[in-house]
């Protein structure tokens, strides 16, 4: 099987699983327990978070520890836009409001993605990771000081200043109160689908190859004319936009939401999904986000030990995939198949040249 076919199969399986899962959920919606039903929308949000973080960690190869910050930006801007449209313009149509709120969440998060990306992507490795963590914490800190209210059609924003006219939408550390719960599972499914289309198509395009080139060998990528910062930026901002959209959907699924919800722990949570799904593996991110979000709900006993188990899995996963001994083991498994392929190709390529040479000498 050639590389192109493999990719096609992989993408088809990914989309197939997601669509099938959506249909099954709709068909058995009546039989689901209440808590499971309540999990459907968050699952969609976490899938989008995991797939988008995977774009940064797996495809562009930079560890981002502030992904929850973008979700937070998206969530609160989505909530503000939704509240503004409802209270200021009397827009009753929930679907339209949801769409606009998600778009707004993505835009705000994307703008901040650019602003944060410019300084962050000048750094490398550990420093880059720690600065994304710093930005995530700054966002949380700053969100604690933001107030927003709507009066008539005008929206007022306040920083460290809760004395705003009209109906308060954001209340600093107390976050958003009496949010209209307008998120729907269908919207979540469509967002997941859209995310997969964007991410998978991006990976299998000229842009995606350039991003992977910057990950695999920065110096070589530059030498063939690839602007490393630009392509890392594309990955970073795309992920920020997607996280913002997921955040907006997430925020509009609860009646109250505080900025403290998007702590560093949430960024790590998403990182756990990515790592356990296999770094760089989009389908893996989808599956692990789904399973790991549902598990604490299904197994009450598990939720006490959840973070402990995650921590152990994180370490185990890294030790298994990165130590020379285990690598050699997996390469041997793969090699049985691959080496044959390689030898055939090498032999095929050498044959005509050899005869060509003989002809010249003769």
């Amino acid at each position: 099987m050639n590389a192109k076919r493999k990719k096609l199969l992989y993408n088809s399986v990914t989309f197939g699983i997601v669509i099938l899962a959506f249909l099954l959920c709709n068909a058995f919606y009546g039989e689901m327990s209440r808590s499971l039903r309540g999990q459907l929308i968050p699952i969609c949000c976490w899938i989008v978070m995991a797939v988008s973080l995977n774009l940064v960690v797996g495809i562009s190869g930079e560890l981002s520890l502030g992904h929850a910050g973008f979700m937070s930006l998206g969530a609160f801007s989505g909530i503000v836009v939704s509240g503004w449209l409802l209270n200021g313009f009397g827009m009753e149509n929930e679907t339209l409001r949801l769409i606009l709120a998600i778009v707004a969440g993505g835009l705000v998060s994307g703008v901040f993605g650019v602003l944060i990306g410019i300084p962050v992507l000048r750094l490398r490795g550990d420093y880059l990771a720690i600065v994304t963590l710093a930005f995530g914490e700054i966002i949380r800190n700053v969100m604690n000081c933001v107030y927003a209210s709507v009066e008539g059609q005008s929206l007022s924003l306040g920083f460290l200043n809760p004395n705003l006219p009209g109906k308060l939408l954001l209340n600093g550390p107390n976050g958003a109160v009496s949010v209209g719960k307008i998120a729907t599972f269908t919207a979540g499914f469509l967002l997941v689908l859209g995310t997969l289309i964007v991410v998978l198509n991006l990976i299998n395009s000229r842009i995606g190859r350039a991003i992977m080139a910057t990950r695999d060998n920065r110096i070589a990528a530059e030498s063939v004319g690839i602007n490393v910062t630009k392509y890392k930026m594309i990955a970073f901002v795309t992920a920020a936009v997607l996280a913002g959209m997921a955040g907006a959907l997430y925020g509009l699924n609860y009646s109250t939401l505080i900025p403290g919800k998007f702590k560093f722990d949430q960024s790590i949570n998403v990182l756990v999904f990515v790592v356990l799904g296999g770094i760089g593996n989009t389908l893996g991110s989808v599956l692990s986000a789904t399973v790991l979000t549902m598990l604490p709900e299904l197994l009450r006993e598990f939720s006490d030990y959840r973070m402990l188990v995650y921590a152990v899995l994180l370490i185990a996963m890294m030790l298994i995939t990165n130590t020379p001994a285990s690598r050699a083991f997996f390469n041997n498994l793969k090699g049985l198949f691959r080496r044959k392929e390689l030898h055939q190709a090498v032999r095929a390529s050498q044959a005509p040249q050899e005869t060509g040479k003989g002809g010249k000498q003769g």
């Binding site: 300084p119 720690i130 914490e137 973070m307 995650y310 890294m318």
Partner: protein, 294 residues
Amino acid sequence: MVFLSNLVNGISLGSIYAVIALGYTMVYGIAKMLNFAHGDVIMVGAYVAFCAMQYWGFPPLLALLAAMAVCTVLGITIESLAYRPLRQAASLAVLITAIGMSYLLQNLALLIWGANPKSFPSGALALPTLNLFGGRLTISGVTLLSILANLAIMLALTTFISRTKMGKAMRCVSEDRGAAELMGINVNLTISVTFAIGSALAAVAGVLLCSAYPVLMPTTGSMPGIKAFTAAVFGGIGSIPGAMIGGILLGVIEILGKAYISTELGDAIVFAVLIIVLLFRPTGLLGKPIREKV
């Protein structure tokens, strides 16, 4: 006078950061990895000291020694089990492992000691308070102790690194691990000793931290840990005097920022310092630049 007392508080907090940052900077300088779990070793140290004093009735000094012993063993164990197999791996994998280790320690602490905050016996050290300017400026015993401890540790470490054979080995491993190995230096042992020293310092920092801010929870160490890393970067990663200067400056910036800008934004200010330093002087105040080989 308010400013002066803020300044003293800043220096006190900064001294604690500096002790933590020393551990960070040694590990980063020699093992070339960001030991994300360092902050949680501090928490473990504080819990051990707490248990020693509260339940077993140890005197403070003995409790401190017990905490240092436990943390040293913990540090060496973490290094040999989780980090050593990844010596050759990409920094992404090492950092993720370290984050995993941080969460592992936090959640083990949660299981052992519970989520309820313990109040650290602050009076345990029973140090005299210094009153200056007719009682208008008071400097607590813990503050003085932190500053003195910090100075002593820095002097001891500098001497150790520059005078002893192990110190020389550490400098070699830091410069070029491969060459050090070829010269017959036991790299594994050297890195283990580095972790041992860093973790013992973490225990000291934990006791100092909880004496000054007597609330002890499983997450107590993580935020000071990250801030201390900021301090280490600020001073120049790998540099021992740098860690001290960076720590104290950061402590002062944090306290003054909280006092004069906004209490809510204290952490944001600290992280903004990190970002600004990394962008404009990535090698920190006292660090040396590194050139990538093509």
